[in-house]
Amino acid sequence: MGVMQEKVVEASQMAIPTALPPPTDCALPEALGDRAKNRLLGPPLNTEDLAHERLGKPTALAVFASDNLSSSAYATEEILRVLVPAVGLAAFSLVVPITIAMLVVLAFLILSYRQTIKAYPTAGGAYVVTRDNFGILPAQVAGVALLTDYVLTVSVSVAAGSAALTSAFPSLERAAVPISVAFIGIVAYGNLRGVRESGKVFAVPTYFFIANMVLLLSVGLVRMFLGDLPAQTAHAAGTLPFGSAGDGLFLGATLFVVLHAFASGGAAVTGVEAISNGVPAFRMPEWRNARTTLVVMGSLLGVMFLGLSVLSAHLHVTPFEHGSPTILSQVGEAVFGTSPAGKGLYYLLQAGTVLILVLAANTSFADFPRLASFQAGDNFLPRQLTKRGHRLVFSNGIIALAAASAVLVVATGAKVDRLIPLYAVGVFTSFTLSQAGMARHHIRHKEEGWRRGLAINAFGALLSLVVDIVIAVTKFTHGAWIVIVLVPVMVAFLVRLNRQYEVEEAELEADARLAATAPILRRHVVLVLINNLDRSAARAIQYARALTPNELRAVHVAADPERAELLADEWQRLGLSRLPLELVDCPDRRIARAVLEIVTEVSADGDTEVSVLVPRLEHRRVWHRLLHDRTSDAIATAVSRVPHANVTFVPYHLGLGQPSRR
């Protein structure tokens, strides 16, 4: 009987095990930050949703080619902008040959990148290629050069986009900077939400632009051959003044001008690398589809760039000092004419241009965070850049890019021609490094057809190097020096950063297992910080008792002597757990400092582990929190500086009516 009864008692005391509650049944409200993110960005995505949406060739072209194709909207203009003031009318006979030269470079780059795509079909890009073939340091040069250029791509694209907008609506010209910044904001927001590879969003503007350009060029060229398209002879106010062509004496100077114009046109080939960065996003067989898309992209760019240059040369369109209306806009107006239908087509063209330029900025928003995360993963950029945010995108990288490009846009007043000189140096540096890396790859691995590949990539590297030097030299005084100075400085900075990470890592990892078996400190002293004799203090003391320390002390920092006196009286009358309360003098009212002094003293013997318990109110509403200061956080920060001092917040949940056990 007795035994039976005991068993029954035991059973009734033992809770009957049940299944865990469903995981979504979390009664706690979400943090304010999360709620804001849910509202702004949509619900958080799970890591397993990361799987790439595979893209077919037409969509992939739209996604990856917008940066490259959009260059045709401003490349001709930048060439003319250099030529017209220097050589005058001769500019219009030089622009087409320069364009062709640029396209030859483009053709070789595409040949080279076809090799890269095949050799690095998983994660490509200049950074990875350079890292694998030349080591980590040259890779930083490639990385920094590319990051710089991604920032510039965003700035140039949105500036050109706003120029296209103000060409159609001249009254908006004064708002160019806010418009550009707004474009950056929109694209950044879209990327934070995670529109990165939602292809259909991209397909519309890209193909819309292509269609408009093709229409413009075919109408223009047909009218040109019919002799129906007169060259502009009268020049509107605000266009660049004409220089005079140099005679024999100035041949050298003219050559320099031509090279400078060529360098400015170099902006056209930026974005070629985008496809090689995104090979994994293609449908099977990835590398073959990527190669085809690359060639299609190059051909489209070639047709549009060359066509626009031919038309501009024929029409003698002259760039405006302020960059608006743009060359493309002037050509559009001339070709489509002033009939209502022509006007309509012109506005469509401008709309398409704005859209694709904004999309081009978007390409950088996909590439910059990814590259930054690679570099951060190699400990060369702050770790925060490797973290995927709420919507699975590298949010910090997106924000960094948006901030940097917005600063640049504001600093240059959203003027494309002031940004262009900074542009392209970085891209060609990374082209050179990645092509040279590919050449090394061929020599080392000797895969099938490596001799041909080596020839292509070695020539590609050489060509990129030559173009890079031309760009650096001719544009040096116009602003390229900023990039040329910035890149080494940045690389030095990254190396310093890397050393810091390595030192930290080495220290943290040294004898970790041994450290875990080291003898623990002999004494454990718990200090409970008391501000008032109330439930939050009581709760902290209860918790302290659960820790069963060697010594338990309740401490009040008497920043306000009168209040301390009142608390002392109250403590004496009521007490809490018969614990003495220590009143600590704090004549300068620096509470955190006073606590730090006590902790230092207690842990001075080197054999004491100190726990400081800080009662903290947990509020149910955000504004409730504003009613209290956050001294407890300041205390925690100060105390954590002492070794073997540990801070624990003991929360008291306001509004829940803490039921007491006894």
């Binding site: 002597p561 007490g575 809490l576 614990l579 003495p580 220590e582 009143l583 003098d585």
Partner: protein, 87 residues
């Protein structure tokens, strides 16, 4: 007058300093007033057994105490000293 750093165990001393901290004992506990007296050179414990509060002794109070240095809670302490509050 001795400076606190020079106080030795079992010595009769007279020291002057500031009350840095004061221990308040609840009524239920053993009646004791215990405080830490510090000067620029160091600090020691001053204990008044059998009393709950001493008027005038608060955190920050300056006073002179005189007595034999002993031990309390494994720390150097003066028990039941003669004391004199300073203005």
């Amino acid at each position: 007058m001795t400076c606190i750093a020079e106080v030795r165990w079992r010595q009769r001393v007279r020291v002057s300093g500031r009350v840095r901290s004061l221990r308040i004992q609840p009524l239920a506990g053993v009646p004791t007033v215990q405080c830490t007296l510090v000067d620029v050179t160091g600090g020691l414990t001053v204990v008044f057994l059998g009393r709950r509060r001493i008027a005038g002794i608060r955190p920050g109070t300056r006073m002179v105490v005189e007595g034999i240095a002993g031990e309390h809670d494994r720390k150097l302490a003066i028990l039941n000293p003669r004391y004199e509050l300073l203005a």
